[in-house]
């Protein structure tokens, strides 16, 4: 067996090109005769759009054309589609206003495109955009999450009275009554009002795209920063551009991070495709960071009231959640899914709470549209649950560790049906927490707190025990819940004649290490050396189909598709081997790259079998086609459920309010681990993302919808000196629902870290009478919390 199979921390195949400047990102694609697009954007949060006079811009040096909203209509360009529908509690469908690629009649957020200038150089396009004269009549805005649906708020869309997109109850009336009963009978209750603030994704590579239309072939090619090339092709081709799928190629080359923000189809991509088709020249667009700030889909932005009912022993008996979720000005592709089925289905957490109900009001505001961002709904759910549990620990006087342990779903209770639709397949929650407590030296905290106090500092410790549903999704269930697409994954495993293997996958690698991890699957199962396996992703002309990479689905869904394709390879290989070895196919065994006639020493390697398949001189042609090239689709029967326990320790300076994360221990269970090095890297990144949300990140708009955090000088990202080193461990409970036993890993850190950090900060501040601080927990907010607690 070659080295580098499942379980090996092999170094990444993709690293050499990234480390030597040979990566090939979208903006590195250069096309002969290319033009440059510059998007002129609304500076207003809400304004009526009067005349848009482009005449001076059209006459400016180098300008080839200027496109406006009416041009889009004239050329049959559609609005940006939404991929998920939600039904309100009164049975009506969500309100889904048209999202034109260029504003028509009105602008509804700062950054909305009002005109696109196409010119010979980027500078000429930008210079000409300044010559466009626009008659704006500013309108009152509704930019605040809590108040956008109240009487008197400015109306954003005519078809959405009260700016309400949907008003959703889950699971339903019966559950709500059960929760009411639980509260009536409760011995204790805990309640918090929480803000899960809006954050901005910030992959380090700005969004970018290059479009090229070949009139002779009637074929459009779009290179773009995408996490899901096939989905991008489907959504842009079918709904916006009317470009048939077989005449539309989308390529997502190397992509510099995604975090959810590169899933949705964006207006800029549609515009440059349209322009390229119109002008018959390649057109490119590169987002400036300032544009990314207002146009990359934002994440979170919930205002929530959460209440937990408990019995006299601290058992959770009911959970009630009321949330207002900000959608932004329009519905981005998966926005409605996030505060609904990715959110409320996680309210059971790792616990046995029997009665759970929630109401979610989704509102339109004059802010940038919101969509998936690392965790997407699950961080919001985990945050409110893990925070209210700490509050319940206070209310009952039970230790935060003990109260969690009393309510964990027991190891022998799986499969476990939660009251919020999900059926958990496996778990061992107390064990993960115990390891985290041990590794974090939980019992030694008192001494460390005393040492901090001796230095005039406050010290706090916090736990979070997150769970997540990853591996979207069972298509049939997703369809019932409103998905407008399937959610399988597909893969093709092709032996080449000389025994090397090419894997074509529908997922996309933008940092996750698929080129290495997926190759390890092949090495492990087919015995082909790692260096002889190539993984191809992100090209609709090469991978047959795919739904892409998001929601921590690539290994458990895409990897399983590769595994199924390899099963087919082995099955066909056995037939070929049986012919070559002159034995019955039933007697052929396969292991570690070798076919053997059972009970004999007659063997043949899979490389020779592949060669025979492509050079079929001695081959059962009457029974079997030549070639060794198989495709498989995998549609999981259920989600999978990674879980973790995190312990965070912070020090707070009561004089300045500054918070530093001193220790962070993370024990994750992501099922079978293919490459431990890569898995640890995914956890590190998720934790830093979560610490960023907890302590520093926050998108701020004023009441007119004007973004106040519009650059990296106003919006704080975690830097090397604001996050700690992480202490990681793991348990490994294989998922029984896919052939690899794999679960997702990319998001759990970002899901679990925020409540762990905030629980630690609140623990530090309790001695000052503080029981909650909203994120981001900045030095200012901590200082204010201490002052107001002192004042009262």
């Amino acid at each position: 067996m070659p080295e580098g199979g499942i379980g090996a921390s092999v170094k990444r195949k993709e690293d050499f090109r990234f480390l030597t400047g040979r990566g090939s990102y979208t903006d590195d694609e250069v096309r002969a005769g290319q033009l440059y697009a510059h998007m002129l954007r609304s500076p207003h949060g809400h304004a009526a759009l009067g005349s848009v006079d482009t005449s001076k811009a059209e006459a400016a040096p180098g300008v080839v054309c200027v496109l406006t909203g009416p041009d889009a209509d004239a050329d049959g360009i559609g609005g940006l589609p939404c991929g998920w529908g939600i039904t309100s509690k009164d049975g009506t469908p969500m309100v889904e206003p048209k999202w034109p690629v260029i504003a028509q009649g009105k602008v509804r957020y700062v950054g909305e495109i009002v005109a696109a200038v196409i010119a010979e150089t980027a500078d000429q396009a930008a210079d000409a955009a300044e010559l466009i004269e626009i008659d704006y009549r500013t309108l009152d805005a509704a930019a605040v999450t809590e108040t956008a649906h109240l009487d008197g708020a400015a109306q954003i869309h005519d078809e959405a009275p009260g700016n309400l997109c949907f008003d959703w109850d889950f699971p339903g009336e019966e559950a709500a009554e059960a929760v009411d009963a639980a509260f009536e009978a409760a011995a204790h209750t805990a309640r918090l009002e929480l803000v899960n603030q809006r954050i901005i994704p910030h992959s380090m590579e700005p969004r970018a795209a290059v479009a090229e239309y070949d009139k002779g072939e009637e074929k459009l090619t779009l290179y773009c920063t995408a996490q899901a090339a096939h989905a991008m092709r489907l959504l842009l081709g079918a709904f916006v551009l009317n470009q048939p799928e077989h005449k539309f190629r989308v390529v997502a080359p190397d992509v510099g991070g995604g975090f959810g923000s590169k899933v949705a189809p964006y207006a800029e991509y549609a515009i440059i495709c349209w322009a390229s088709r119109k002008l018959e020249r390649p057109v490119r667009w590169l987002g400036q960071r300032a544009e990314c700030f207002v146009t990359d889909a934002h994440g979170r932005d919930h205002v929530t009231e959460v209440e937990l009912a408990l019995d006299a022993d601290g058992g959770f008996t009911g959970l009630r959640v009321n949330t207002i979720a900000n959608m932004g000005a329009y519905l981005s592709a998966f926005a409605p899914l996030i505060p609904t089925f990715l959110y409320a289905t996680l309210f059971a957490g790792q616990y046995t709470t029997p009665a759970i109900s929630c109401n979610v009001k989704a509102v339109f505001t004059n802010t940038s549209p919101v969509d998936a961002l690392r965790g997407a709904g699950r961080p919001e759910a985990t945050y409110l649950l893990e925070r209210v549990i700490d509050e319940a620990a206070q209310a009952t006087g039970i230790d935060p560790v003990e109260i969690r342990k009393r309510n964990f779903i027991a190891d022998d209770a799986f499969p476990y049906q939660t009251p919020v639709a999900l059926l958990y397949d496996s778990g061992s929650y107390e064990r993960a927490l115990d390891i985290a407590l041990e590794k974090s030296d939980w019992s030694g905290f008192a001494a460390r707190r005393s040492a901090s106090e001796a230095n005039g500092k406050l010290r706090g410790i916090g736990i979070a025990s997150p769970i997540e549903a990853t591996g979207a999704a069972p298509s049939a269930i997703a369809g019932q819940l409103g998905a407008r697409a399937g959610l399988y994954e597909s893969a093709q495993v092709r032996f080449n004649a000389t025994g090397t293997v090419t894997v074509f996958a529908g997922t996309h690698n933008h940092g996750q290490g698929h080129e290495t991890t997926f190759a390890q699957l092949v090495t492990d199962k087919l015995g082909v050396p790692l260096e002889n396996v190539e993984v191809v992703e992100g090209d609709t002309d090469r991978a047959v189909m795919g739904m892409g990479t998001y929601g921590s689905r690539s290994l458990s869904v895409g990897g399983s598709a590769i595994d199924r394709a390899m099963d087919k390879i082995i099955e066909k290989g056995k037939k070929i081997a049986s012919h070559l070895l002159e034995a019955s196919v039933d007697d052929i065994e396969f292991d570690s790259g070798t076919f053997t006639v059972s009970g004999t020493d007659r063997t043949i390697g899979i490389g020779e079998v592949a060669f025979a398949a492509y050079v079929p001189h001695n081959y059962p042609l009457e029974e079997l086609e030549p070639g060794l090239d198989e495709q498989a689709f995998f549609d999981p029967v259920n989600f999978n459920f990674p879980f973790a326990s995190y312990v965070c320790e912070v020090e707070v300076d009561p004089e300045t309010g500054s918070v530093s994360v001193e220790r962070f221990t993370a024990v994750d269970d992501v099922g079978t681990i293919v490459n431990p090095m890569i898995v640890e890297g995914q956890v590190h990144g998720g934790l830093a993302h979560g610490i960023g949300q907890a302590l520093m990140e926050g998108a701020v708009f004023d009441e007119n919808g004007q973004p106040l955090t519009g650059s990296l000088m106003d919006y704080t990202l975690p830097r090397a000196d604001t996050v700690p080193s992480f202490d990681l461990d793991h348990t490994e409970t294989p998922c029984p629902m896919n052939p690899l036993g794999a679960k997702g890993v990319g998001e759990i850190g970002a899901i679990g870290a925020p409540p762990a950090v905030v629980n630690a900060v609140v623990d530090a501040l309790r001695s000052h009478g503080v029981n909650h601080v909203d994120m981001p927990v900045t030095s200012e907010s901590v200082w204010q919390a201490i002052q107001s607690a002192n004042a009262s």
């Binding site: 030597t20 400047g21 890569i678």
Partner: protein, 158 residues
């Protein structure tokens, strides 16, 4: 209005016509097709564009191409010797200090300069010195490890 700018890049003498407003990073990417140097922001915050100019790390988005006239510039493409990686590149690979790879060129260039400037390095110093380089994937954990691992190799004390 363009004029010729000449400099040495990765040991080769180069010259190209560019406008007065052309940034060094644009000169490298667009005139020389050295696309390993990346642009990640517009406020000199992210550090994806760091190169060495006369041996010192510089954010190439904050320098005009004309200011580099006659200078000796090294980019990420100029570090490895054929298939043999520079010790800092090797340490990044060995320690999984990169994921999507976009911040990596700037990180590596900054890290080399950091090692050059310090006889000794500890975690706190590395973290502080990395303030000018943003990474969204790694949580910095393995980047810090890689730099600490490369230091003795580059200093010949390993």
């Amino acid at each position: 209005m363009t004029s010729t700018v000449s400099m040495t890049v990765n040991g080769k003498q180069v010259s190209a016509e560019c406008e007065g407003r052309t940034l060094l990073v644009q000169y490298l990417r667009e005139k020389l097709a050295l696309t390993g140097t990346h642009v990640g922001c517009d406020t000199s915050q992210c550090g994806a564009c760091v190169v060495h100019v006369d041996g010192i790390s510089v954010k190439s988005c904050t320098m005009l191409a004309h200011q580099a006239e006659g200078c000796d510039v090294v980019t990420i493409e100029g570090l490895a010797d054929g298939d043999t990686l520079h010790p800092m590149q090797e340490a990044f690979r060995e320690n999984h200090a990169l994921q999507c790879g976009f911040c990596t060129p700037g990180m590596v260039m900054s890290a080399i300069d950091m090692v050059n400037r310090h006889d000794t390095l500890d975690e706190k110093t590395v973290r502080h010195q990395l303030e000018g380089n943003l990474c969204r994937c790694t949580g910095y954990h393995n980047i810090v490890k890689a730099i600490l691992a490369a230091h003795p190799v580059m200093k010949g004390t390993a």
